[in-house]
């Protein structure tokens, strides 16, 4: 139960993430946030479980569905929201937006927009960590859809090879949320047991219930410890569900039924964890309400901060194309 005790703080952060995402959807509808917006609602236990298993100096990479990663890794909600608002105070100075959150100081090496395109980066980063003589590990979150890319395949085979000599402390987390945009796993992958696909690279893998924080967390701790100790890659398929549309524009969702979504929502990861905590006497109505209120305030403050802060200065346009002069 000591275990569950510490889960309380992750519960708190998951509530914040959910509330934050609701607010981003609202801000998007109000035209405050532009571009594409991919929220994380429904998948919170996956990122929370894995990030809870990271050490302070470990690092991670993910796709465009990245708000939760930044928040759970500790980036200030105000800076995350300001990025979505395209403000200079944003996590990437307003240059990246929703799909390209970055907080290198906290070991978050970015959100990327090309499906599968970040996987080789994570591979190389993992190698660099070992090459530098550290025991840091690299986590790479990726979607079920990303497994069908050439970038995935080439990286995984190389990870398998580099792991043979202990030079690849890489943890791959497949967030199987059932869909790549509107394409279900069964329609996009010849094999639907995604964890089994890693055998083609001799990479150990397991499939876990991605809705249950405690389950994810245990798997994450095993995977991270393995990678750290052995320098070998390891993979986890976390079976989860995307409550919202693919992005903010995906409203009609002709590819799935309302019933299916309803059904999935019954296993809401936040309510599941809440249930565990209540059952263990670690949470009651008042505490839950306080946590919700705390999230509410944090999100509203993030919005105010974002509304009030200035856009990037015109000089920012040409800054950061290149570094110091070659």
């Amino acid at each position: 139960m000591a275990d569950l005790q510490s889960a309380l703080s992750w519960y708190r952060r998951m509530v914040l993430v959910r509330r934050f995402e609701e607010e981003t959807e609202r801000a998007f509808r109000r035209g405050k946030i532009g571009g594409y917006l991919h929220v994380y609602s429904g998948q919170e236990a996956v990122a929370a479980g894995f990030i809870s298993a990271m050490r302070g100096d470990d690092i991670c990479f993910t796709s465009y569905r990245d708000h939760a990663i930044a928040l759970l890794r500790g980036s200030p909600p105000g800076a995350v929201m300001a990025e979505l608002y395209g403000k200079a105070a944003g996590l990437a100075r307003g240059k990246g937006g929703s799909m390209h959150l970055f907080d290198v100081g906290r070991g978050f090496y970015g959100g990327y927009g090309i499906v599968g395109g970040h996987i080789p980066l994570a591979l190389g980063a993992a190698y660099a960590l070992r090459y530098q003589g550290s025991d840091r590990v690299c986590l790479c979150f990726l979607g079920d859809g990303a497994m069908n890319t050439g970038a995935f395949h080439e990286s995984l085979n190389m990870a398998g090879l580099w792991g043979q000599t202990g030079h690849c402390p890489l943890v791959l987390i497949v967030e199987n949320n059932g869909y790549a945009m509107g394409t279900s796993v069964a329609r996009s992958s010849a094999v639907t047991d995604l964890a089994s696909r890693f055998t083609a690279y001799a990479i150990p893998s397991e499939r876990v219930d991605g809705m249950d924080f405690q389950t994810v967390r245990l798997a994450a701790e095993r995977a991270v410890a393995d990678a750290r100790a052995s320098g070998r890659p390891t993979a986890v398929e976390a079976v989860t569900y995307r409550f919202a549309g693919h992005g903010a524009a995906d409203v009609v969702q002709p590819y799935r039924s309302k019933e299916e979504v309803e059904q999935a929502r019954r296993r809401d990861p936040i309510r599941l964890l809440e249930g565990h905590l209540r059952a263990a006497g670690l949470l009651d109505d008042a505490a839950a309400e306080a946590i919700r209120e705390e999230a509410e305030q944090a999100v509203l403050a993030a919005v105010r901060h974002s509304e009030d802060s200035p856009p990037p200065s015109p000089e920012a346009l040409h800054a950061d194309v290149y570094g110091k002069e070659a």
């Binding site: 571009g35 990246g96 937006g97 090309i114 990303a146 394409t183 329609r187 590819y255 346009l317």
Partner: protein
């Protein structure tokens, strides 16, 4: 003539050609059950079934390459590239296979393949999703590169593409999907390599294509108010490039401004400038001006993004420079668009 949107023009052409020719098939991401990311293929799965409207995994190498193989066997695949940004994943397939197989096989196969989808910047899609790749593709022999600016062109050029025998890079622009215009009925087709003089004028030639045609026309309208008559040329296809129409026009106007959305260095406008320099050198009364996007990855923040894109004011100022005079311009200076590598 019926009024159609650019989107409808493309969609109805797909339908007409699919009805007419069973070898025309569609493939790409989210074109079926999802109804198309931009609804270009809405209802087509229901209409033609999953064998002709193929939803693919996120596998650009796989489905672009597969479409090339289908074309080699006599089908006429039309691939939807969700946006051209993703085509870089399949760049090898397009450049090393689609463009070259006819040649290195000694002419043994046709490759009647269309790859179509939106090219260029949207609104705040940031660096990886706001690119315009015409200069890259137009460099490659074996490809046709097409960039319609109006609904009629979209229809006419797509028909030519589908009935052709070579790979076509069909560059649409999402900013144009809702735009409307008259579209001729029937088996209307626009040939490749024929630019359109959209507006005639004697003072300066403005060369544009795709979304920037509208910006050029907006500039031309303002310029007319200042007594400057700009001739506006819409390229329609970049490969083949209608060099003679451009050269002939500048031969009359003696001045030229070339407009493109994307990064200036080694961009499409450079080829047009070189063409004019080669073909109309003696006629030129002023340096040719280029109006282009800023030479930076596209930033997310809207204020920076607007700076990175050129507007009618930028074109007007460029025209003014070719005339060695000052004119009032409507839009604020987009200081970003003029910088070099």
């Amino acid at each position: 003539m019926p009024i159609l949107s650019y989107r409808e023009a493309i969609r109805t052409t797909l339908i007409e050609e699919m009805d007419r020719d069973p070898t025309v098939i569609l493939l790409g991401e989210e074109i079926g059950l999802y109804q198309g990311t931009f609804r270009m293929t809405a209802d087509l799965l229901e209409r033609y079934g999953p064998r002709r409207v193929i939803d693919t995994p996120t596998s650009e190498i796989g489905f672009v390459g597969a479409a090339i193989g289908m074309a080699m066997l006599g089908l006429r695949p039309v691939v939807e590239m969700m946006t051209w940004n993703f085509s870089l994943v399949a760049f090898d397939q397009i450049v090393n296979n689609a463009a070259k197989i006819r040649y290195f096989s000694g002419g043994q196969v046709d490759i009647p393949l269309i790859i179509r989808g939106p090219n260029g910047a949207g609104v705040q899609l940031s660096a990886q999703h706001s690119q315009s790749f015409e200069a890259l593709y137009a460099h490659i022999p074996g490809l046709h590169v097409v960039a319609p600016a109006t609904p009629a062109e979209a229809k006419g050029l797509l028909r030519t593409a589908i009935r052709g025998s070579d790979p076509v890079i069909f560059l649409e622009h999402a900013a144009l999907y809702g735009s409307k215009g008259e579209v001729p009925d029937g088996e209307f087709a626009v040939p490749f390599g024929a630019a359109d003089v959209v507006r005639s004028g004697r003072d300066v030639t403005i060369v544009a294509y795709s979304r920037m045609l509208g910006t050029a026309l907006e500039a031309a309208a303002h310029l007319a108010g200042e007594g400057i008559e700009a001739e506006v040329i819409n390229l329609r296809t970049l490969r083949p490039l209608d060099r003679s129409t451009i050269v002939e026009s500048v031969g009359r106007t003696h001045r030229a401004v070339v407009v493109q959305e994307q990064w200036r260095p080694f961009g499409a406008a450079a080829e047009i400038v070189a063409t004019i320099t080669e073909g109309a050198f003696d006629a030129l009364d002023a340096p040719i001006e280029r109006v282009t996007g800023a030479d930076v990855p596209m930033p997310y923040a809207r204020n920076l993004e607007l700076m990175a894109l050129s507007n009618a004011g930028d074109i007007m100022r460029a025209v003014a420079r070719t005339l060695y005079r000052e004119i009032p311009t409507p839009n604020g200076r987009s200081s970003g668009g003029q910088s070099d590598a």
